[in-house]
Structure formats: C-alpha cells, structure tokens
Symmetry: C2
Subunit: 402 residues, 2 copies
C-alpha cells in the first residue's frame, strides 16, 4: 500500500505531538517527478501554495524549476512575497479590501497576478494599481463547471477587453481550474470531462486571438487531472499542489490515466497514545483540531497493527481501533449509549483477549491525513525529517488576521 | 430564531475576511448567566478553555467569578499561564513529554492540575514534579461511558491511593466528563443517563471517603448537561465551555431540561461574497479553512435572504445558496457533473429570474459556526465587537509547535 515507504523519526526526535511530519526524501521525489513531467510537456509549473501555505516549501519548489506559486488568499500572497517568492498569482477573486493589499505587494517589486470574473473586480484592481503606481497581471477566471468562481466562456472576451483597457492592469491570460473533476472516481469520466473543457478553452483562445487579445498564459489544472492537463495542448501553466505531499483522498480516487501515482505519500501526523483502558481501542491526542474532517478519515500508516483505524473522538482526541475488535465498535453504531454498552461489555468479558499488538500509552501512531491542505492549515509548522534531523518550516501563510 | 440578536459591525470596521467576530454584549450575558447558575448551585465554575483557546477571554471568565480554567493540551495550559491565569487543570491525560512541561509551569507559581487514568501516568507526573521541586494536583480521570479517556470506576480507589502515595503529587479529586451525552437529542435520555452517572460518582465518593481519601473536588459536566450537573449534588466544579459563544450544534440539540437556552449565539464568521455569476448561489471566502467541518454546517444569520444556506466549496470558499433556488442545487445532487448541469441550465433559462435579494460581490454574509471549538481553532484571533470598536483577542492557545 502507498505510504509504507515513508520514513519516520523515532520518539526522541519528536518535541511534542500532534506533529505534522514531512519525509524530505519522499517530498523531493514528488517535486522532481512533477517538474520532469511539466518540463517534458513544455508547460510551466506554478505550484499551488494553498496546499502547504509554507514559503520555505514554496522556495524549494521554485528552486527545483517552478516559475512561481499560486495561492487562494491575499494573506498567502503576502506571506510568500515576505518569504522571498517573486512571482505569485492569486487564483480566486479577492474581496474588495484585497485590491489595495495586492497593489502594495506589487510595489515591493514582486510580480503579482490577480483573477477576476466580473467588471467590478477589474475596476477595483485597476483603481488600486493606479493609486499605488504599479501594474498588476489580470487573469480572466473562467468557470467550466466547478461553479465556485469564474465567468462563463461567453463573457471571456468582454472581460479580457475590460482588463486590457483598464489602467494599471496587464491582461495576462485565462484561468480555468476544474476542481469538480480532481477526485472523480470514474477515470474515463474524469478524462472525458477534462478534455471537453480543453475544447472550450481552445475555442476561447482562438476567439481572443482573433480579437487581438491572445492570452499570454492559460493557467489551471490539478493533481487529479495533471496527466490530461499536461497533454491538453492548451494549458501553458499547471497549478497542481497536492502532489508534493499527497493524501488519503488522492490515494483513494486513483491517478489520472489509470496508472499508479507517480507521487508518494510524504506527510503524516505523529500522535501519542494517551489512554489505553479498552480492549477495542486506544486513544491518541489527535482529533478535529489536528486532522481536518472535510475529507476521508486519516489512515493509520505506522505505529499500530496493520488494519487499525483512526476515528475522531472530539477536539483533541481520536481512537485507534484494533482490527480484531472492529466488531465491538460496529456493535455500538452511531448511538453513544450503544457504543458505551458494546465497549463496556467487551472489556468485562473475560473470554475476550486484549490484543497483544495494541499500542500502549506513550507509543506514537502515524496518520496520513485524509485531505492534505486543510490539515496543514491546522498546524503552525511542517516538521521535515531528512533521516537525521527534524527541521521546522513555518506554515507562514496560515490565516493571519491583522 | 436564536442568533438574531447578535450585533455585527458594518463593513468599514472589518479589516479583512473571513474574520471571527464575537458580540461582546451577548458574550457578557452568557458569562453572567452561567456564573449565576453556578453560584446559585454552590458549584465552582472552571470554564473549559478548549472552546476558545484565548487567555484574554479566560481572564474575563475568571474576573466574572470562575475559579480557574481547564484545558485539553499542555500547550493550552502554557498559553493560559503566560496570559496570567493562575489555576489551570489539564483535563486529558498528557503524553509522556508533557509531564516535565506541566511541572515547569507549576514552578512559575501557578496551580497546575493534571489527570491520570493509569499508574504509568501517575509515575511520570510524580517523577517530573519531584525533579522540578513542585507539587502537581492529580485528579483521577473516570470513564463513565465516553470511552475516550478515564479509568473504569472499579479502578478509582487504586489510582487515588497511587496518587496520594506519589511524591510530588497531591490527590485532588475525581473527574468525570460525559462527552457522549452533551448533544443527545432525546432530552429524557440525556437526563437519565447523566443521573445514572451521578449515582456511580456518589458511590465512588463514598468508597473513597470510607478509605480515608475523600475527593477534594469532583469536576466535570458540560454545556449540554449543565442543568443536571449543577443539580447533581455530586459535582463540586463545572467544566462547561461552549456556553460562552454557543454554536449551531447546541442550538439544534436543545437545552437540558427542555427549556429555552439561557445562552445566546455570540459569535459569527464574517465572509465576503467574491463571485456572483449564478442564479442559484453566490460564493463567499469561507470554506474548510474558515469553518470546521466536524459538526453541522454553519448557519447564515445575516447578510443574505432568510433561509439562505452555506455549504462548503473547498479550502477557502463556500456557497450561499438562495432559498428560492435550493431546488436547482438539489437537482445536481452529490455528483459534480450533475451539479454543473443543474446550475448551467438554470442560468441559461431566461424564464428563471435572478433573486432580487441575493447578496452581491463585496457584501458581507455572517455565519454561525456549526461547532464552536474547532472553528475558533482555525483563527489566530477573536475580534470582539462592543458596538463601537473591534478589539483583537489572540487565540494564543492554538496549536504551537516548538
């Protein structure tokens, strides 16, 4: 199973738990692999910083060949520029307060791109750029089915003209991110839906070129569709991010093209067993506040018997359910009194053995996150393990309010 | 509906979004109400800091009459002591690395309590206390059905004796937190299960008293059972936390005793509309990284037409679905291509009107969190609105790794 190649530090190297640990060697293999794929396809890599919110990792990705980073929020862009990254595209339309802050970032000399899906956004960015005496790259954001942000294709030319005409802005191209396709289990459907979007994009590029506004860049794509995106012939820039560390959700939905993933799980949470009074499960110090709950449950990858399951038990705790006693937990179901009864009966039953290989208090259990991005967002640092030392990389793009 | 009394600052007072805003007046009413209930019952209030992780709010609760705070993690305890709080109980068994750090905290002169549910934990805390030359309060943690941490009642006397005999520790009493009952929809069952636990606790207090180890404190209870806990005659300390700000989950499950809640929603997320190209919904800048996903969805409480729904659309975005067009979204179901089709068809249908009262780009929509604790954990500050100014209170107990 994927994830079994991760290298974990031993307990004496861990300052505390829960700790989010990255295997440096696996990370480097992932970065090299994606850069090689992009180079071979002649597509610029603009890795998505929303995954890691970490300027140290961002700089590393750029050192390995990426042209810059993208990000979702103004705060992330500020952290990246402060961290020495000179080319940042904010891939979501910004709230009104964001325009002046993006213009201020461009004032430092960094190349700052913003997206817009309506004229009001273009006007606000233009006003802010003029006021600051800078030029911002303006990318027209297109909605090809995700319906989160972006304009319908029919509005692309109108918005491109508005961007081109607006003082302080440079029309920098088109963006189309197909978020709704990234985790689609049906690989044929994932591919055909992605390719249908490419056809729309190609037609738009032709339309804008004919109108005298050839898009300098067509940016988008993600880890779940990267094989198709790189072969599309229309994207000139790939925005994948999760490939750097991977997660349970991407492992589960399968790689595009039906091949094995070229990327390895490179990140896991170190959790400590803090209570072990039951035959069915032990309790670790990783709950909702250490493991994001939007995706599939975190997966036990080391430190407990094969097949053991993590399930949340509140803000700061999770259970590690022993495989041999999953039936006890199932008997309890979702009813908290049923769970109480099943666990207590199993513990009281002298015929039931304690699993000999269950973790004990103080043991470390390693969990691969269900969804990497929002789990990283719960930590103030990545702890990067190179086999000898544990290095702390600040998650400096995490939500900071002023 | 509850939550409609919250007071929100206008847009020009908001430095950015998403921002977590607390209505100071509603907060103060909640604090006063719980303190009055505890005072009337003759029970000490030891509010649970895991809810807010904010030493400023913790000090306020103590100024209003609480005896101290409790918390779940060693890091929270450190933040509270650094923030001037002198009496802190860590309510979950700590990992091995925690013992020396708790002893170091006690060395500053603060009163520090730790819980244990096995002898190994007691030994480690004793060793650390002796090494630091301090005394730690040791509370025996009991499991009365939650099965997250805690010893079975049959083991209480043994552990109390071990705590009493261990150098560096003071046997400080019993803890029983009934997490599994807090949100039970069936109020009769919530009450009867709580009362069954009180009977067990009373028998244990008698057993320990007879053995010469009367528990100085019996601590536990929560917002969802506080009426029963305060009337129990056995708890001498109440550990409720959520009452300070409330959330959708507590609103939904109803107050103990079948009365209306004596506590008001006092906290909401300010989110900005950043995209509005569809008849069915607009998009705001609050997704998984601004709204914890472990509980029910956040509830729209202001800024959009009554009945509008928030649903997550990824890391940094959510949709505000307009009530009149919920059917469009339902038609799409969980299939991302179905969602695409339903939204696109509605937008293309000239017979369908755009809702006149839909929010526009730049508007602020206010969301009450589904579950308060892990949502606060996503922010580095609470922004407290008193009707005139917005004050920043750091969430200084949020996970900090060293």
């Amino acid at each position: 199973m994927e994830g079994d190649n991760m290298n974990f530090p031993s307990t004496e190297h861990l300052p505390q738990t829960p700790l989010l640990v990255v295997d440096r060697a696996a990370l480097e293999r992932n970065l090299a692999r994606m850069q090689a794929l992009c180079d071979a396809a002649g597509v610029r890599l603009r890795a998505h910083g929303k995954t890691h919110k970490c300027s140290t990792l961002g700089r590393l990705i750029i050192e390995r060949g990426a042209v810059g980073l993208c990000c979702q929020t103004v705060g992330e862009a500020e952290a990246y520029v402060a961290g020495g990254i000179q080319d940042v595209l904010v891939t979501a339309p910004s709230p009104p307060w964001g325009a002046a802050r993006l213009a201020a970032l461009a004032k430092t000399g960094a190349r700052i791109g913003a997206v817009a899906d309506d004229e009001g956004q273009i006007d606000r960015l233009s006003d802010a750029a003029v006021a600051a005496g800078v030029t911002l790259d303006l990318v027209v954001d297109l909605d090809l089915g995700t319906h989160r942000a972006g304009a319908y294709p029919k509005d692309a030319l109108r918005l491109a003209r508005a961007a081109d005409a607006a003082p302080g802005l440079r029309f920098a191209g088109l963006q189309a991110y197909l978020g709704h396709l990234q985790h689609m289990d049906d690989l044929d459907l994932r591919k055909s839906a992605d390719e249908a979007a490419f056809a729309t994009l190609k037609a738009l590029v032709a339309e804008l070129t004919e109108a005298g506004l050839p898009p300098p860049v067509v940016t988008g794509g993600g880890t779940g569709t990267h094989i198709y995106d790189l072969a599309s012939g229309v994207y000139t820039e790939l925005q994948a991010g999760s490939y750097a560390v991977m997660d349970v959700e991407y492992d589960a939905c399968g790689a595009p093209g039906g091949q094995a993933w070229g990327f390895e799980p490179a990140m896991a949470i170190a959790a400590t067993v803090v209570s072990a009074n039951h035959k069915s499960h032990v309790t670790v110090d990783a709950g909702f506040k250490a493991v994001s709950m939007d995706g599939p449950p975190a997966r036990v990858v080391a430190g407990a018997a094969p097949g053991s399951l993590w399930r949340a038990m509140g803000d700061e705790h999770g259970m590690i359910a022993h495989l041999s006693l999953i039936d006890v937990l199932k008997a309890g179901g979702r009813d908290p009194l049923g769970f109480d009864k099943a666990v207590a009966e199993a513990d009281a039953d002298p015929a039931r053995a304690w699993p000999a290989d269950a973790p004990r208090v103080g043991d470390i259990v390693w969990l691969q996150p269900g969804h990497c991005d929002p789990t990283i967002n719960l930590y103030d640092a990545l702890h990067v393990w190179d086999g000898e030392t544990l290095e702390r990389w600040a998650v400096d793009g995490r939500r900071v309010s002023k």
